[in-house]
Amino acid sequence: MSSDATPSRTNGDIPDTPGLNLGYEKVSPSGKAVSRRALSGVRVLEFAVGLVGPFCTSIMAQLGAQVFRIESQGAMDGFRVTRNPLTNERLDFEGVPRYNFVNLSKWGASINMRKAEGLELVKRLISVSDVLLENYSAGVIDRMGLSYEAVREVRPDIIMVSASGSGRVGPEAGSRAVATIFGAVSGLAEMTGYPDDRPHEARSTADAINSLTIFYSIVAALYYRKRTGRGQYIDYSSREGMTCLLGDVLMDYAMNGREQTRQGNRDSAMAPHDCYRCRGEGAWLSIAAGNQAEWEVLVNVMGRPVWAAEDRFSTPLGRWKHQDEMGKLIGAWTLDRDACELMETLQRAGVAAAPSFSCAGVYSDPHIGDREVLEVVEHPKLGANLLVGCPWKLSATPCRIDGHGPLIGQHNKEVFSELLGIPEQEFARLQRERVVW
């Protein structure tokens, strides 16, 4: 870890042994006593791999839901298989930073669902859960014996979410989909990137967009259930989740038959509206001037250069038409300046400007620091790390990270012995026979 990412705060109160009480919200996976939060009392069961499902439920957990992540040594999440970005060495599957991040604050139980007894255990967990989320390819969960009909028999008021690439019906239902694919077929890829280069490949971004869309869908269903007592089934399509963010682009096609495409940083009317190179490697400052007044202020800050007085730059339309030439001139001015200092100068004068922050920039941004967006998380293999917590500031029920992403089966004892009341000898047998595995 580099020096500017050194933890500035520590969670000193994590006890050595996990807490024993599985009552809602009395303890967290790390054993810490916790206070009441927005989703306290909601129990979530998760059969999910990768990012879409896991990141959604991690946010739920940070809002207070009790999330049980079901995994098995026989069917590990592919996110556990990755390499060190610097040395290219394979990482220990229990020490993967990204996996840890998308599974923060959850309880981990391991069940071999290929065994009949494993499926029975899962059904017992379903009977005490409020939400079941799965993100396998469409139809896989049905073949595992956990269709909505089967699940509803065990827990009639459950909210069950199936999140797949294209949804459960239609000619492309059931096709293998990862973020790059649903990013492409959603239309989003085509709309992002440089106009003269290939479309942007949305990977983790595409996943996270869907995690958050699924989040609000689930909470809406929870709210409905609280008022009516009725659960429901949610068939979610990841590609549609992304297409929804192109509403105005699609309306343009519907109204005018226009095929919009990617435009880099360009705006349909505003100029300047781009990132300009600053001093230092990979340093860029985004600057936008939305009207004549902001342009005048920008010109003043630049010290009223001669070129800025040229006719072609005197009107918004002129600046928009000549934005490439203007961009070079502004870029020449920003080139030997510090991006953060220039942001301060421009903002004080009243011009919208912000650096295009790298990871390092975000981690050292004083504003992000002041807002306490980053939290220290201890992990048995990864040590202490500063990670991005749920950044929504709920005044009465603040979000919080309770603990690291669970190791495989880390909370088996709590889940099987305490929650389900399985006697010790029986639990030992289930482990021996690799049902709990």
Binding site: M1, H200, Y216, E240, E259, D274, W392, T397
Partner: protein, 385 residues
């Protein structure tokens, strides 16, 4: 203009009754394209029409004393108050949560701003361009760029702003859920910078752990991405040996058919540049439909990069009924995207098209708040509504 209205639209989609309060001059989105037939008109902005479906609409100058009073009358029995006022304006208008919670202790206030209500940047000015880049997501976009000297870019159009609205809707519903239990409202402070940071955060874990900064050119995987075909772009990924074997069969390149090394991920990663050159050449000669529009035929994840018109004509979207026709008095019938979820118990439906400017003034002010038609005429004369 987009984030807060879209947040409210998502709640309207879920059945909430949303009253959109616009200044008498109208939401700025009404002046933003795309416009029907490219002719600017406040009732024919595609951006406005999309972000405001299913809402009621009233006009009100909330900065005027009368307007402020009327807003408070509405907030008195509202469940959620969504606003995007800068923190200083919120204070000036007397609309801080501390002011409003006395009026309605059950109110959930959702404040959406570029940088949040606190912190050194709280009063900073920002357009969607700036918040997207401040979040760290812009720096890594476009993924896999071969041009480190070119500027990082934001996501297309208003993708970032809609996503901020998605975050805000989630937080608002969580607060509403808690209110059902506790009877208490609260304020939800949503910073666009932080909401968009969630898009980039999983890529920052390698920085936290190893000090590795992920950039545009290092965010990609070693093999498999978007490739140019004869008629556009297409994406594929191979995750297993079986996937790779299927790909090489599809590409029908004799040199590779019997080469076992190509099935090995590690070998491929080491030799990806030379393999990519051949793949690029092979794909450039074929159409997207030929290669990738048979999703079940290809065992590996693949698909065409669709343009807007292709999205709207896609059979998959049609089978799900994703695009829905909405009739609007100024534009006639148009196809709109609906919602990405299909609820078994409470299906999505559109309640009404986006409101005309001040369309529901009488319904809201007279029928609900008890103002007379004469009052409305006076308020209109004073430019309060």
């Amino acid at each position: 203009m987009v984030a807060a209205p879209y947040c409210a639209k998502l709640l309207a989609d879920l059945g909430a009754e949303v009253i959109k309060v616009e200044p008498p001059a109208g939401d700025a989105a009404r002046r933003h394209g795309p416009f029907l037939h490219d002719i600017p008109h406040p009732e024919r902005s595609g951006l406005f029409l999309y972000a405001n479906t299913s809402k009621l609409g009233v006009t009100l100058d909330v900065a005027s004393p009368r307007g402020g009073k009327i807003l408070r009358e509405m907030l008195k029995d509202a469940d959620i108050f969504i606003e995007d006022a800068p923190p200083a304006a919120l204070e000036r208008l007397g609309l801080r949560y501390d002011d409003l919670k006395r009026l309605n202790p059950r109110l959930v206030q959702v404040a959406i701003t570029p940088f949040g209500l606190t912190g050194p940047y709280k009063d900073y000015k920002a357009y969607p361009l700036n918040t997207y880049h401040a979040s760290g997501e812009g720096f890594m976009t476009p993924t896999g760029s071969d041009y480190p000297e070119r500027a990082p870019v934001k996501a297309g159009n208003f993708v970032g702003e809609y996503e901020v609205g998605v975050n805000a809707a989630g937080a608002a519903l969580a607060a509403l859920y808690w209110r059902e239990e506790s009877g208490q409202g609260q304020i939800v402070d949503i910073s666009a910078q932080e909401a968009l940071l969630l898009l980039a955060a999983s890529d920052m874990t390698n920085y936290a752990q190893f000090g590795a900064v992920t950039g545009r050119s290092t965010r990609n995987w070693p093999f498999g991405r978007l490739y140019r075909c004869q008629d556009g772009y297409a994406a594929f990924i191979t995750l297993t040996k079986r996937h790779r074997a299927a790909l090489f069969t599809l590409l029908d390149y004799p040199d590779w058919q019997k080469d076992e090394r190509l099935l090995d991920q590690t070998w491929l990663e080491m030799h990806s540049p030379e393999v990519e050159v051949v793949i690029e050449r092979l794909l450039a000669e074929r159409t997207r439909a030929e290669l990738f529009s048979r999703p079940q035929a290809n065992d590996f994840p693949s698909g065409p990069s669709l343009r807007p018109g292709e999205v709207m004509k896609s059979a998959q979207f049609a089978a799900r009924g994703f695009f829905t026709e909405i009739e609007h008095p100024e534009t006639g019938k148009l196809k709109y995207p609906s919602a990405p979820y299909q609820f078994s118990e409470t299906p999505w439906r559109v309640e009404r098209p986006a409101p005309l400017l001040g369309q529901h003034n009488e319904e809201v002010y007279c029928q609900r708040l008890g103002y007379t038609r004469d009052d409305l005429a006076r308020l209109r004369g004073l430019h309060v509504i």
